[in-house]
Symmetry: C7
Subunit: 72 residues, 7 copies
């Protein structure tokens, strides 16, 4: 199965990631944790619209089923 | 897996949280409890539209599959 | 996990609740029962549109996946 | 858990029920059977639009994930 | 649980059925088989739009999650 | 359960099939493999719009939850 | 079951793939890994709109439920 996707997430713990959600919401933040559902905890997160930061949200727990992709 | 998302929820029990739901609904309230589906119990909750409180709802049990994110 | 959401439901058995469904449907009624899927049985239920009762429906079994939130 | 929703369905076997589906479809018929997914078998069923019968459909097996609510 | 829905399907094997899918697609055909997901095999199937046959499709395997209802 | 749907798929391995997906996408190709989720591998596949081939795509692995039906 | 879809993915590890997502998003990149949910890790990925590259995204972890198809 190569480098399994959750292993790749593990490799980027404590690093900045971009998280694209269903709809047009994106978050940028530091990946603090994840689980097998791809629920994610980000810290120092900001919400982006069209690639621009629209607000700071601090810590955020994203429910995995909203995630389209995560990019380190 | 770092700080798993449900552990982060556990850390903010009895603290105020913002809960974003699918669609445009948001709740602000005190996190009284949660489970593995991310079902949530909030107390002293108010519903927000465009970031403004539109009504007080007291205690509310949110079904987890509606949750986009929780932010302490 | 604090007061788990299903325990909160258990605490309000036989009490009046407001149930918000996906879409714009709401029910108000007495919570007679529930299960782990958040399927709900309400009695003396009425359906609301924009917060106003539009019809009496007596007993109603709601499939859990339609539930957004339950508020006692 | 009070009167669990599936027990309530069991209590109304062989009795007339109204079944509301996602979208705007409704069926009225006699509840012949159900299972844990809330798949339903109705007999002497008719399909309703805006509360009026638009066609007779006899026996119908409804897949549970389409069900919003069942009302005896 | 009365006559469980899948038992009702079993009773109509090799008989003509109408299958309503999500969206506006319908099939009419002979029910050759099914499984617990309500995946269905129809033979001599034709696709209907607004109740009229628009094309013959022969054998078709329908994935269960598309099914709204099956009517013998 | 008659000829179960997955058995029917097994019977048409290495044969041409039409695969209808949710939305308006269709593929025509040779069925190389499948699994219990109805994930499918097609070879010599072409994508169709309104029944006409719009591009050749060679081998394609379709995730099962997109499948509406498969027709040999 | 022929060449099962996940085996086909395994055969194209470290090779370029096109990944079509629900909505109109596509990625082209090198398949580094996958799992049973069809979560995917791509490297050297670029996002396409209408078949044209619109941005480079490097490494990307795609949540499987967004995948329509993967084509080597």
């Amino acid at each position: 199965m190569g480098n399994r996707p959750l292993d790749t997430l593990n490799d980027v713990l404590d690093m900045p990631v971009l998280v694209r959600l269903k709809g047009s919401r994106e978050f940028r933040g530091t990946l603090q944790g994840y689980d097998i559902h791809m629920n994610l905890t980000l810290t120092d997160a900001e919400e982006l619209v069209d690639g621009e930061a629209v607000r700071s949200i601090g810590t955020v727990i994203v429910r995995g089923d909203n995630v389209v992709y995560v990019s380190p």
